[in-house]
């Protein structure tokens, strides 16, 4: 990946973070922490990996993305808006009455959302169904899903992992946002899901671990995923919850609340400074 390419992606990730703050500030609620930790992933997916067409969001052969950790919709919405699926201004209507931007993704109201999610564990199963159906249909598309690390505590996730391994869904790629925190505290303390890669491999998946804020590693992982045959592929991303906003970083308390006026201003000042820094590079 060239430095120019990387810088563009970093700028996109920074703008996605601004969208997350903008949306959750206006909504006075929502989930900034896990949206910020996955900002690089959203940027990479919608600007490098996914074969989608914002002008034709229902194109049958588009790649599918299922946000299995549906509560991080603010990150997805910012990415979709930046990619041109709907106007950026819509971000400010997040969670408000009559907005198409529901608290959790709704495939029937928001262009670009491929599956309605929000109840943890269900999205990865739906992604399995999409990947299997694509194979039956002879549809060349690929299917991607993003899960949280806390989400791995849902038994259904392992039903889905077993299914994907059993049916050798090599058109399926799951990313796991391992930011280490969930509502009640550290994932390791609440109910350990570790070791994640060993579990996934035991369920028939190919697996790699990366720094989820590093685009070089992300590119290598997705390249490996595409080349893998006969197995579904998982990317376990070590990330920092709340990444990019100093007072939100690594704080479980920022899982599910919106910033107040002062917090909003500080967060936007930090992100604007980062954006200026990137653009000056």
């Amino acid at each position: 990946m060239t430095e120019k390419e990387k810088k563009e992606l970093q700028i996109t990730a920074c703008k996605i973070r601004m969208g997350v703050i903008e949306g959750t500030y206006h909504a006075k609620s929502g989930h900034p922490g896990g949206s910020l930790s996955a900002a690089e992933l959203f940027a990479y997916l919608y600007h490098r990996e996914l074969n989608v067409d914002p002008k034709n969001p229902q194109w049958p052969e588009r790649d599918r993305f299922v946000l299995s950790k549906g509560h991080t919709a603010p990150g997805l919405y910012a990415a979709l808006a930046l990619r041109g699926f709907f106007p950026w201004e819509d971000i400010k209507t997040l969670r408000q009455i009559d907005s198409h931007l529901q608290g959790h993704p709704n495939m029937n109201s928001t262009p670009g959302v491929d599956m309605s999610t929000g109840s943890l564990g269900q999205g990865i199963s739906a992604a399995c169904g999409m990947a299997l159906a694509a194979r039956v249909q002879g549809n060349p598309c690929r299917v991607y899903a993003l899960l949280g690390d806390g989400e791995l505590q849902e038994g259904q996730v392992w039903e889905a992992m077993m299914f994907a391994g059993h049916y050798k869904l090599d058109n399926l790629c799951a990313a796991i946002d391992n930011n280490g925190l969930q509502i009640d505290g550290k994932v390791a303390d609440v109910m350990s899901v570790y070791p994640i890669p060993d579990k996934l491999r035991a369920f028939g998946w190919e697996c790699c671990e990366i720094d989820g804020h590093d685009f070089d590693q992300m590119k290598a992982a997705f390249t490996q995923a595409r080349a893998t045959r006969g197995k579904p592929f998982a990317i376990v991303m070590r990330t920092v919850k709340g990444k990019g906003v100093s007072f939100m970083e690594d704080q479980a308390g920022w899982h599910g609340k919106g910033p107040n006026q002062a917090e909003y201003e500080q967060a936007m000042a930090e992100l604007n400074a980062r954006l200026a820094e990137l653009e000056a590079m």
Binding site: P60, G129, L132
Partner: protein, 312 residues
């Protein structure tokens, strides 16, 4: 009764699915380790490339089916009614009902007539659970003819459907050559104006037998087959309420939340003066035993329907 041909509606389902599969490549079928019992194996044998066993994981199966529907396929997902509507309720609610995905949930072994397996497998709550989900069509066939027509209608309808099927063979009684089935339409099987018996599933045959007994007592009973529980054919219910003034509902389901309560709500809100009595499972669990004996024990019989109709 021995001369009447009997077929379980789950058999009808397997056969109908296989028939549809030949001309509709968009049909994909999922099962949860019960393909031999739900009869999706009949489809699987004919179309092995479109039949997928999900193992004993009903929650995952429902969402897998939702994903396949999101890709434009028409999935049929089957398990026993207990596990389809019970174990997988929230998956159906959030991943099928809410996004209004085109999944057909065909659940067999419903009700007390499961028989020997006993209470853990005798689901008498599925109408209540499925009715409460917005966008969900809920149906239950009375015999083989209706079951096959219903599966076809469910395929043609675009949106989530729940069909309740039975384990035990039930009499095949509708032999009209011009038979047709419409979702949301009840059907008058016998005319009468002293009392109306509104029944669904295997209780429809019992209702017709009850009407014969009532006729002997000088009571003219209208028999209505209400194959679609939701959306309810309120027009037909209210016509019966106006013209008969007395309604007995009959279902192999809890009296809570099923056809009986749906009819009660429609009648009560209409303001039409009409007495309603519900025949069903009275807020209790089932038990092991032969299906016929259980149906009698729990009052799911022509005799009991007739008794209730005479007392009302």
């Amino acid at each position: 009764m021995s001369e009447v041909k009997k077929i379980a509606t789950r058999e009808s389902y397997g056969n109908a699915l296989k028939e549809l599969g030949a001309s509709h490549p968009d049909i994909i079928v999922f099962d949860a380790d019960l393909a031999g019992s739900t009869k999706t194996a009949v489809f699987g044998k004919a179309f092995p490339d479109r039949h997928f066993d999900c193992g004993i994981a009903e929650g995952n199966m429902m969402c897998v089916a939702a994903g396949a529907a999101a890709m434009g396929m028409t999935p049929f997902a089957s398990s026993f009614a207990m596990f389809a509507s019970g174990r997988a309720f929230e998956q159906i609610r959030n991943s099928i009902g809410y996004p209004r995905l085109n999944v057909k949930i065909c659940a067999s072994h419903a009700g007390i007539s499961v028989g020997e397996d006993g209470a853990s497998h005798q689901c008498c709550e599925d109408f209540a659970i499925m009715r409460a989900i917005p966008n969900m069509v809920v149906m239950c066939p009375a015999d083989d003819v209706e079951a096959r027509a219903m599966v076809r209608a469910a395929y043609e309808y675009k949106g989530p459907v729940y069909i309740r099927l039975g384990r035990s063979p039930v009499p095949v009684f509708d032999h009209r050559p011009d038979y047709s089935f419409t979702i949301g339409k009840g059907e008058v099987l016998a005319e009468g104006d002293d009392v109306a018996v509104i029944a669904t599933g295997l209780m429809v045959y019992e209702a017709m037998e009850a009407a014969k007994r009532l006729r002997e007592e000088g009571v003219s009973a209208r028999v209505i087959n209400m194959a679609t529980i939701k959306p309810l054919d309120e027009e037909l219910v209210l016509k019966a309420a106006r013209e008969c003034g007395r309604i007995v509902t009959a279902e192999e389901h809890s009296v809570i939340g099923g056809l009986g309560e749906a009819v009660c709500a429609a009648v009560a809100e209409s303001g039409i003066p009409c007495k309603v009595r519900r025949v069903g499972v009275n807020d209790e669990f089932g038990r092991s035993g032969p299906a016929d004996a259980l149906l009698k024990r729990f009052g799911l019989s022509a005799e009991h329907i007739a008794e209730v109709a005479l007392r009302i």
